[in-house]
């Protein structure tokens, strides 16, 4: 039971600045997921919390105690590693008992704790085996068990599921979720898999190049990404990005040129007023691109052609070409007969559009989720 | 020499040493402690003797006459102009190195290939091939001496039975040298074999399957698939073995003693003989140091070569 607080945490390896001014507070019993592409500093951050890496700057506080100079064994944490890191020369039972024996817990209590953890995880029959005699999923459960028996203040997970095959990963994800309801402990979970991040996290921390990009609940991040990178990282199929230019026209602002000019409603125009003449990027979630006319007000209608379709059964993905750009639409009715080469009209609800500044992690300039789109939008052809 | 250890805080008073030790972070302290036993042993029993030897090599340091006057480079000049050293010892050492390593490598590769297949009696053959690895060079040399004995050796008997004349194995330079090379190859081929076998067994299967699909002939598979993939391990074998071969002592000492008439002397024997037979310790250490410089340079070259094949550097 503890709160974990990172204040201005930095990590340098010589010239490499692996982690840059990370501020993060994980509330008691909260499950926070660190997500980001490979090499972005997730593991390093986690290992600093664990005490496995020295902290180059800033403080880490666990349960109200600054732990910067404490060795891992004194931090009251438990950790699950990507490759499980089970002690190869010990049986499963001894693996689970190792940490408790180090803390001089009486053998009878150890047995009780292990029985409890084993029944939660369903690993009772494996107790006498060595790690080499276990499947990947079983090893993963033992690794979880090794954490549970310790009753630590904080759980740390470093990509615990990434060595499992897709099916097992989905299953273990659900088990982890269930586990949380039974063992509520402050947790920090590192992954590069956005599905895990979305499904497991109370809150998600998106990192890139050692910098925190955004912290928030899964829906917040999905709906109102703070920058283009966060938008692109979460969601599958990924968000479409279309480069356009903000242009002054007929006394108002338009975005030029995605098929045609998009005339901006007042609120949006106000937000983009400082970017006249500059390139910006429209972010469109695939599921917000609808085939056909669309019904409501505030819809842009565009004419394009279909490049190809992907039938997934529950829905279709459709790749569309508008002018020289292509975008992907998702959630298309699977019964709709579409073919590459067909001309198609589609529509975009403008209240779902994001506008980012140019660049790979251009900050958001306008996010419909944040503000209400008031004025009706016009589509000029 | 880069072995800073806790043992090496140079001449500081104890208190400041203790303080400095505590000021180190515990990770550094841990790594120094891990290194200390090896570091201390290396300093005491290799670095110190080498420094003393270097000192001795500049002095007139006879075994029983501890005059020890400084003579500068005299020993070095003597050795580097000694025809024995230049025209016998050095060529012998290098020839032994080149022939033993190359024959051992080729044989080892062939044997590793053989052992990499499964056939009846595999276990016995492997045990027999590994046998020399466990026999002392001194014993192996004795065996060879006996087998090649001029009058009563089994080789002489076989040659005699075949109706050829006898070869005076140990009283001529080249026959003696051939026996030394043969013994060395006998002793060390197993070493090549097990390392190369380990290499062969760890090779990935896919390139072979691809080659099979391409209907490559077996010889082409060997030269174009196996050899390139084996290059790193072969490079390691060659470097290590060459370095060890350069310091060969036991075989030569027992088989020929460097004779006849110093004609099969190699570098280690030369240094030993100067020091303990001619009792000229200064000259012996000078020879030993010259040898170290030669193999150091060669080793450096080989290391460069090795580095080209694989990343040994960390």
């Amino acid at each position: 039971m503890a709160e974990v607080k990172l204040t201005q945490v930095n990590k340098r390896y010589g010239n490499i600045h692996a982690v840059h001014d990370v501020d993060l507070t994980v509330a008691d019993e909260e499950f926070v997921v660190l997500v980001g592409p490979s090499g972005c500093g997730k593991s390093t951050t986690l290992r600093m919390v664990a005490g496995l890496e020295e902290i180059s700057g800033g403080t880490i506080d666990i349960g109200g105690r600054v732990v910067n100079d404490l060795p891992p064994r004194d931090r009251d944490i438990a950790m699950v590693f990507q490759n499980y890191a089970l002690y190869q020369h010990m049986t499963v039972y001894d693996n689970l008992a190792f940490g408790l024996r180090n803390r001089k817990v009486p053998e009878a209590d150890i047995r009780k704790e292990i029985d409890r953890a084993a029944s939660i995880l369903g690993i009772q029959p494996l107790m006498a085996r060595k790690p080499k005699q276990l499947s990947g999923g079983q090893q993963q459960r033992v690794a979880l068990g090794r954490c549970i028996v310790r009753n630590p203040a904080v759980f740390l997970f470093d990509e615990p599921l990434s060595n499992l095959d897709a099916k097992l990963r989905a299953q273990m994800r659900i088990e982890l979720k269930e586990l949380r309801t039974r063992v509520a402990t402050t947790s920090i979970y590192v992954t590069h898999d956005q599905v895990e991040a979305m499904t497991l996290g109370d809150r998600i921390v998106v990192m890139k190049d050692g910098l925190v990009q955004q912290i928030g609940t899964p829906l917040e991040l999905y709906r109102t990404p703070a920058n283009r990178f966060v938008g692109s990282f979460l969601g599958s199929p990924a968000m479409n990005f279309v480069d356009v230019t903000v242009v002054q026209k007929n006394g108002g602002l338009v975005l030029s040129d995605f098929g045609a000019d998009i005339v901006l409603p007042d609120a949006m125009a106000a937000a983009l007023a400082g970017h006249v003449g500059k390139n910006v990027v429209i972010g469109l979630r695939p599921e917000h691109i609808l085939m056909g006319e669309g019904s409501s007000e505030g819809t842009i209608r565009l004419d394009g052609s279909i490049v190809l379709t992907e039938q997934l059964g529950a829905q279709q993905l459709v790749e569309l070409r508008v002018g020289e750009r292509t975008v992907m639409a998702a959630g298309v009715d699977p019964d709709l007969r579409l073919q590459g080469g067909d001309a198609g009209r589609f529509s975009i609800a403008l209240d779902r559009v994001h506008v980012f500044a140019a660049g790979d992690s251009g900050p958001v300039l306008w996010s419909a989720g944040k503000g209400q789109v008031t004025a009706p939008l016009r589509h000029v052809s | 020499m880069g072995t800073p250890g806790p043992d090496k805080a140079p001449g500081k008073p104890g208190k400041s040493f203790a303080l400095r030790w505590l000021a180190l972070n515990e990770k550094t302290r841990f790594s120094l402690l891990l290194l200390a036993p090896s570091g201390i042993m290396l300093i005491l029993f290799q670095i110190v003797p080498i420094l003393i030897g270097a000192n001795a090599s500049f002095r007139d340091w006879s075994l029983y006459d501890p005059q020890r006057t400084w003579v500068g480079l005299q020993h070095y000049i003597y050795i580097l102009t000694d025809p024995n050293f230049l025209y016998l010892v050095l060529p012998n050492t290098l020839l032994l190195m080149v022939s033993s390593v190359s024959i051992g490598l080729v044989l080892g590769l062939a044997l590793a290939h053989m052992l990499n297949k499964h056939f009846f009696g595999h276990a016995i053959v492997q045990t027999v091939i590994l046998l020399p690895l466990m026999v002392a060079p001194v014993i192996a040399s004795m065996m060879m001496r006996w087998i090649f004995n001029d009058q009563f050796g089994v080789v002489a008997a076989v040659i005699g039975a075949l109706g050829f004349g006898q070869i005076a194995w140990l009283s001529d330079r080249w026959p003696s040298f051939a026996i030394i090379v043969f013994t060395d190859v006998w002793l060390w081929t197993p070493w090549f074999t097990i390392l190369l076998l380990a290499g062969l067994r760890s090779l990935p299967k896919e390139p072979y399957e691809a080659a099979a699909i391409d209907a490559a002939s077996k010889w082409r598979v060997f030269t174009h698939v196996t050899l390139p993939m084996m290059r790193p391990i072969m490079a390691v074998c060659i470097v290590i073995r060459s370095i060890d071969c350069f310091r060969t002592f036991d075989q030569v000492w027992v088989i020929s003693g460097g004779g006849p008439a110093r004609q099969t002397e190699v570098f280690s024997i030369y240094a030993y003989t100067e020091a303990f037979v001619y009792l000229n310790f200064g000259r012996g250490t000078a020879a030993a140091i010259i040898g170290a410089i030669i193999i150091g340079t060669l080793g450096w070259g080989l290391y460069k070569l090795l580095n080209r094949f694989m990343e040994v550097s960390r």
Partner: protein, 286 residues
């Protein structure tokens, strides 16, 4: 014994004589080469054993006559120096194996787990000292051990024997630890171990197969070692290899006795060849 034989193939255009052989002939050729190999590697040892069991008068005609005896062995064992030498070699080999491994296991671990200047410097040092010929530092040790008063004692031989393995073994040990996942030790640190605890209780047990193989080889190498024993010992601490080499020059003609001694000195090697091979091969991942 060409490579082509082993792969069972000969390129057609080269016109190897194997082409002329019937399909069964290739097999026969393979068997013949196996037999040839066995002969080359086993015959010298076989011949030595045979010689050691021939009576003194028959030793020059080992291959003629069928009289065998174990008398040579008894005669050799009556010599005090031989028994003494066997005992000494056993003690030195055992102690030096133990200490060599103890000393190098930590330095190998350090090389495997730490990066940075210290580790790099140590790695370079090891490589340099690996290339330096033994004679270069054992010659001066003849004096150094005398100054330190340990010449011709166990200690005077044991310590150099520990030192000689530092470079090579540290490198091998690094390899063993490189094969062990370091996150296991991280887990141990979190589970309440100190760094030493993680090393001794988690990393070390996992490296045991390799260390066991190395200990067998180290024992054999020390048992078989000659140069150190020749330079650093005298009458007080005779070692078996030196005693045998002296036989060659002193009893130059009594091949039956020399062979008997040699065979006895090979017994540990044979035991290892038969029983320990499995561990060596497994530990070194052959």
């Amino acid at each position: 014994m060409s490579v082509a034989t082993d792969t069972g193939y000969t390129p057609p255009k080269r016109g190897s004589f194997l082409d002329a052989l019937a399909p069964g002939g290739k097999r026969a050729f393979f068997l013949l080469s196996v037999l040839g190999v066995l002969l080359i590697f086993a015959f010298p040892v076989f011949w030595l054993v045979l010689t050691s069991m021939r009576p003194a008068w028959g030793v020059y005609y080992v291959h003629r006559g069928l009289e065998f005896t174990l008398g040579n062995y008894l005669e050799v064992l009556e010599q005090e120096v031989v028994v003494h030498a066997f005992f000494n070699s056993f003690v030195i080999a055992t102690l030096s194996t133990f200490f060599s491994l103890t000393v190098t296991v930590t330095s190998g671990y350090m090389l495997s787990r730490f990066t940075g200047k210290l580790a790099n410097a140590w790695f370079g040092t090891i490589y340099i000292f690996r290339t330096i010929p033994y004679i270069t530092w054992v010659l001066p040790l003849y004096f150094v051990t005398q100054w330190w008063g340990i010449f011709d004692t166990y200690l005077g031989l044991l310590l150099p024997h520990i030192a000689v393995h530092i470079c090579f073994f540290s490198w091998l040990m690094k390899g063993f630890f490189d094969g062990i996942d370091p996150s296991m030790e991280s887990a141990a640190l979190i589970d309440g171990c100190t760094r030493w605890g993680a090393f001794l209780r988690v990393a070390l047990p996992s490296a045991l197969p390799g260390i066991a193989a190395l200990s067998i080889l180290c024992w054999l190498w020390t048992w078989n070692e000659f140069l150190f024993a020749l330079i650093l010992t005298s009458h007080n601490t005779p070692m078996i290899t030196v005693v045998m080499a002296q036989f060659v020059s002193e009893l130059g003609t009594e091949w039956n006795l020399m062979s008997a001694t040699a065979v006895m000195a090979m017994v540990p090697a044979l035991i290892v060849a038969i029983f320990g091979q499995k561990y060596v091969v497994r530990g070194l991942k052959v």
